[in-house]
């Protein structure tokens, strides 16, 4: 459709959709963006990659008017544009799909689309117009959503479509998506990419922020890499590789594959028998789940967030109660009732790295030496005279752990919230792994963790396995499950949908299982 691509002279004549020059932004002492310049051609899909805290989201939030830049200028379609708030951005034809959706849960799809784009003081005419327009957009871009459904009743995949529809309804020509696939199944992600390619064909410009390099390679035309607030390189996607991008993100060569030997699987350590959990609302979160965990293996639990994995971890780790079923360790039943005690679990050699390290893994305003002892603070080694805590030993112990796990800065007096996501996770890991447990339960080990630290954390998990420990790994990142696991269980809607060996399966099959489809049942 574009005959201009071969004509260099005419191509130059088309102004880029986005032109950022010299953008800087500081939050207090933290320089989130340093003198960033970036150009995105009209009708292109442009990726921005970078580790957590590299400043990707800040940059895009500036473009969307959510934050004000300290310095720099923005041109949209070659026209200098002042963007002071989101209202200006919308007027300039920019739409944004935020990482955490900006939707009102108890509103209908229609109401969410209309919010902020109403015409006139009464709602009737706007709602009627939006209903018609949604139908047209649905047909044009494969964006089917029931306009009268409540947001809280539809899946995250559909919620994301509503966000895209919101932008299109406001006639956005530029669409920014912040980590759009974080909450999607592989199938939903594929659908999203089809939609994006479709939008591109209609001449829309798309900017996609992600830390998943494979997506960048799949879907973008060009890509910019950010590191510590600076834009380190911008390149055509076809001329680069995931390894090069990773190096540009981290500043050194990183191993994207996990280096591990074949597992030496030993005897069964834990047996879960018919575990079920019904929550306070009477919803069954876990339905009759049974499996075994053996020495020397990493058992990966795959699944989209919210399909019972969290409840499973809670029951086994003693945080939550099972409605029915039992857990055996070395053939001996352990308490899974509401009287279960997480401290006793630890004494029996079950360590737990929780999914949500801010809520459950760490006490954010407490110092590192306190955090590295929590959960084990009643152990004799931390006890001093007259029943008081032995602070001296706790600090020394923390210092050693920080050194061994390369936690930076290595100062035990710093509070947990001071550290980056990767270092926070290492603090939790150091505490749990250094206890030399028989079983390690680990949830979302690398959520919000930068690539450099991911490599380290994965290696620690593999080392523990090679030391003959049993590891139960729960992750929503399918790549991670495939890279680490010796055996994979896929959960969907509270049941184990299937069990696979990583060497005999592929992403497509696992994706189907995650969506509740059993590929074998159909064949």
């Amino acid at each position: 459709m574009s005959s201009t691509t071969n004509n260099a002279g005419r191509l130059d004549a088309v102004a880029p959709a986005i032109e950022l020059s010299g953008i800087s932004k500081a939050f207090g002492p933290v320089q989130a963006n340093k003198d960033i310049s970036m150009t995105v051609a009209k009708g292109a899909i442009h990726g921005i990659v970078g580790e957590n805290g590299a400043g990707k989201s800040t940059l895009m939030s500036i473009l969307y008017g959510f934050y004000k830049a300290d310095a720099g200028s923005v041109k949209i379609d070659g026209v200098p544009t002042q963007i002071n708030d989101s209202h200006d951005a919308i007027a300039a034809g920019i739409g944004m799909v935020h990482q955490h959706f900006m939707l009102v849960d108890n509103f209908t799809v229609l109401e969410n689309v209309v919010l902020g784009a109403e015409e006139g003081a009464t709602l009737g005419p706007s709602l009627r117009k939006a209903r018609k327009e949604l139908k047209r957009l649905a047909d044009e871009y494969e964006l089917d959503v029931n306009p009268d459904a409540l947001i809280e009743d539809i899946s995250v995949g559909f919620q994301q479509r509503v966000e895209i529809l919101k932008a299109l309804y406001r006639q956005a020509e530029i669409l920014i998506l912040d980590e759009p696939t974080g909450v999607l199944t592989p199938d939903e992600a594929d659908h999203l990419f089809r939609i994006l390619r479709n939008l591109k064909e209609q001449g829309k410009t798309i900017v996609i922020i992600t830390h998943k390099l494979r997506e960048i390679m799949d879907v973008t035309d060009s890509v910019s890499v950010m590191r510590r607030g600076e834009m380190t390189k911008t390149i055509a996607t076809s001329t680069t590789s995931p390894e090069d991008l990773a190096e540009a993100m981290v500043g050194r060569r990183v191993l994207l594959e996990v280096d591990k030997k074949p597992a030496v699987v030993g005897e069964t350590v834990m047996q879960m028998k018919g575990l079920s959990v019904t929550d306070v609302h009477g919803v069954k979160r876990l339905k009759n789940v049974s499996f075994e965990l053996k020495r020397g293996e990493i058992l990966g639990i795959a699944g989209v967030a919210g399909n019972g994995q969290s409840e499973l971890l809670e029951v086994i780790s003693g945080i939550g109660a099972a409605t029915s079923g039992e857990v055996l360790m070395h053939g001996e039943a352990i308490d899974v009732s509401k009287h279960a005690n997480a401290e006793l679990r630890r004494k029996r050699g079950i360590s737990h790295v929780p999914e949500d390290r801010h809520q459950r893994g760490l006490v954010m305003p407490f110092m590192t030496w306190e955090n590295t002892a929590f959960g084990y603070h009643n152990e004799p080694e931390y006890s001093g005279k007259m029943g008081l805590a032995n602070q001296h030993h706790m600090k020394e112990d923390a210092r050693e752990k920080m050194e061994r796990f390369d936690i930076r800065p290595p100062n035990p007096q710093l509070v947990a919230s001071h550290f980056s996501g990767g270092n926070q996770q290492k603090i939790v890991l150091a505490r749990e792994i250094e206890r030399n447990p028989d079983v390690l339960l680990i949830g979302q080990p690398t959520r919000g963790v930068d690539i450099g630290a991911i490599e380290f954390i994965h290696q620690q998990i593999v080392n523990l396995r090679d030391a003959g420990k049993a590891i139960l790994l729960v992750s929503v990142e399918l790549d991670e499950i495939q890279a680490l696991s010796d055996r994979i269980l896929v959960m969907f809607d509270g049941v184990v949908q299937g069990e696979r060996l990583p060497e005999n399966t592929n992403e497509g099959e696992l994706g189907l299982l995650m969506a509740g489809v059993d590929p074998e049942a159909n064949s």
């Binding site: 939050f27 008017g65 935020h98 009102v104 849960d105 509103f107």
Partner: protein
């Protein structure tokens, strides 16, 4: 039986309506505030300053010049009403400034407003009138008089329909009728207008409103201005529209909190708010009419009857009446996340 219907039930209902009106107005005031995501336990305080301002200014406006009055005659009551709305709105703006602009704790701000109102009304009242915190007895022209609706006198003798019209519907003052109009108006604003959609959204997810290019701050201030006005009406009704005819120390007597309980009971919906406050009004009416109630096997003492509305409040706030889910962003100051 006929006698019971015409006398007791009608009189009870009539008095229930009168009792319900200040609760209803305060409840709707709270509805605007809380639907916009600002918890408001300062309804009581705002009603109290409004009642005081209404009583004081209506009295002063109606006094003869040699007493320092303004000789406004029949306009006095409206001066009182205006003063009530202004006073209550100022208090509402203090709450807005503390909880929206300064992002303070909304409960603490509300408690502070209640204490401040309780003290300042008596202080100024004593300074102005030297009557121990009371305001002078209001006379004709200084208070709202019952309005006789058309044909009320001639329909009076028609059985049932005439009785209901004469006893229950006709013969209230203007704020009563206004209160019911505001219920319908609130429903329409909330569900059928752009402002209502945005206000409901800002109470659930201010981020969605902000990213849609709408100012969260302006929207919340607007809602709290409406809260101020409605609390002003509620307070003015107490001193200008009831038999009290004047302000008395602590005259709100916990009505702000009962209104809050009614708001939770009504699950933050305007039509239900009317139902809930009428229920409270009826309980108060029963308590007043039957000093003691003989149920045959036990005689309920007067104190118990008087306490009925408060008992229901406790029951509701303790969550015995179903699960009430407040607006999700309520109580949380809005800060753009990093």
């Amino acid at each position: 039986m006929m006698d019971f219907l015409t006398n007791d039930l009608l009189l009870l209902s009539d008095s229930a309506v009168r009792n319900a009106i200040p609760l209803l107005l305060a409840c709707l005031a709270g509805l605007y505030s809380e639907r916009a995501g600002i918890f408001d336990i300062g309804l009581e305080g705002k009603m109290l300053v409004a009642a005081f301002a209404a009583g004081a200014f209506s009295a002063i406006a109606g006094m003869p010049a040699y007493d320092g009055g303004w000789e406004m005659g029949a306009w006095s009551v409206w001066i009182g009403l205006g003063a009530a709305i202004i006073a209550s709105t100022i208090f509402s703006m203090i709450h807005a400034f503390a909880s929206i602009t300064l992002r303070g704790n909304q409960l603490i701000s509300g408690v502070a407003i209640n204490f401040f109102a309780a003290g300042i009304t008596v202080l100024i009242g004593q300074h102005w009138f030297r009557m121990g915190g009371q305001t002078p007895q209001l006379r004709e022209g200084q208070r709202f008089e019952p309005i006789s609706l058309p044909f009320a006198e001639s329909l009076k003798d028609v059985p049932i329909v005439g009785d209901i019209y004469y006893q229950l519907i006709s013969g209230h003052n203007i704020i009563v009728y206004f209160g019911f109009i505001i219920v319908a108006l609130t429903w329409w604003v909330l569900y059928r207008t752009r402002f209502g959609l945005r206000m409901r959204a800002v109470g659930e997810n201010p981020g969605a409103v902000d990213t849609a290019g709408i100012s969260v701050v302006k929207l919340r201030y607007s809602a709290l201005i409406i809260t101020g006005i409605l609390c002003g009406l509620a307070g003015a009704y107490l001193s200008l529209g009831t038999a009290a005819a004047g302000f008395g120390k602590d005259m709100t007597a916990g009505r702000g909190f009962i209104a809050l309980a009614a708001l939770i009971f009504a699950k933050w919906k305007p039509i239900s708010a009317m139902g809930a406050t009428l229920l409270f009004g009826m309980l108060e009416a029963i308590g007043n009419k039957y000093q003691t109630l003989d149920l045959g096997f036990v005689v309920l003492p007067g104190q118990f009857m008087q306490a009925l509305p408060y008992i229901l409040t406790v029951v509701i706030l303790a969550g015995f009446v179903g699960k009430a889910i407040p607006p999700k962003a309520g109580g949380e100051p809005y800060v753009k996340e990093r």
